[in-house]
Amino acid sequence: MKKWHYILLICILAALITAPVLLMPDRDYEGADNIAEEVIMAINPLYDPWIEPVWEPPSKEIESFLFAFQAAAGSAFIGFYLGKITTRRKNRG
């Protein structure tokens, strides 16, 4: 792939991610699993979730911290790995 291929792909990616919010700003963008939960309760109103999660993050802030850290840690490793293989190729000449 040439450089402009990467740039093009990243532009498409940005468009895909931002388009829903730009085009439909008034939706509530809830997680799909919560919606599924509502559907389950609608299909079977008597269903009783028979077990609760062991632990939940105490606040939205802690949850988003964990998310950000997760993405950062993964990206750091990917960056390290890509850096490693690129310099290795350069050193080989």
């Binding site: 990467y6 792909l9 829903p20 799909a32 699993d33 062991v54």
Partner: protein, 254 residues
């Protein structure tokens, strides 16, 4: 290999594993929530998933023993799942979900290696972020760690046999693995919660309208991200990657 390099590799691998184990992957969007699968279904999916998990451990130990030079690459495929599944994105349905990232590793290492990686990610997510669940773990591993990677692997192979350009095979593998994961999730929920009128089929339509339609743009985004990373790897690591693609074929044709 010089010992110094080995030490460094081991260090980073260990560091990665620690991060991987300590950190929950959180995902609010796809997995079946704790307690939302009746126990008999939960048990059934656990039993179905177990053989794949065992096969996966065997496959990974084979990679570690016979091709230790690929450990880092396997960790990197794991890191990719890690990053990608932290990215909750808005979608056309007005709700949010996230991609899975299993296709990259499935294409490189074969599908069952990703069963193991997915289960680590799903377990800690269930424990620390209250996403997914321990009782629904089997079902969630099946959709994300078995069905998705199997589809990715099959689609990539078919694409390569059909003479598609590599980027297109990679894109389709990631796109369809992502869609497949959510269709399986929808089916799992539909089987457990059939509607009074219309039964499992009606219920499947309902659940897949939540999960699958939300996933279409996300699956495309995952496809594009996978192309970018796959190409970077391929450009800088061509020989090794080609060797690996043959190796994963050997493992799976046994």
């Amino acid at each position: 290999m010089i010992p110094k390099c080995n030490v460094r590799k081991t260090f980073f691998l260990a560091g990665f594993i620690v991060i991987f184990w300590l950190l929950p992957k959180s995902a609010s969007a796809m997995h079946i929530m704790e307690g939302f699968l009746p126990w008999n279904w939960a048990l059934m999916w656990t039993l179905v998933t177990l053989p794949f998990l065992i096969w996966g451990f065997k496959s990974i130990s084979k990679i570690f023993n016979e091709k230790p030079e690929y450990k880092m690459l396997l960790a990197m495929a794991g890191a990719f799942v890690f990053v990608i599944s932290a990215l909750k994105m808005p979608s056309v349905t007005g709700s949010c979900s996230h991609p899975t990232g299993v296709a990259l590793g499935a294409v490189l290492f074969g599908p069952v290696a990703m069963t193991v990686i997915s289960s680590i990610v799903l377990l800690f997510q269930a424990l620390l972020l209250a996403h997914g669940g321990i009782t629904t773990l089997g079902a969630n591993i099946f959709s994300m760690g078995v069905a998705g990677p199997l589809l990715a692997f099959a689609v990539y192979k078919l694409g390569q046999k059909g003479g598609f350009p590599r980027w297109l095979s990679v894109f389709l593998a990631a796109f369809l693995a992502n869609m497949g994961t959510y269709l399986v999730t929808s089916l799992q929920l539909a089987l457990a919660f059939p509607m009074e009128t219309g039964g499992v089929a009606a219920s499947f339509v309902k659940f897949s309208s939540i999960f699958a339609i939300t996933q279409i743009p996300l699956a495309a985004s995952e496809g594009i991200l996978t192309i970018i990373v796959f190409n970077l790897l391929f450009n800088y690591n061509r020989q090794e990657l080609q060797g690996l693609l043959h190796f994963s074929e050997e493992v799976h044709s046994q």
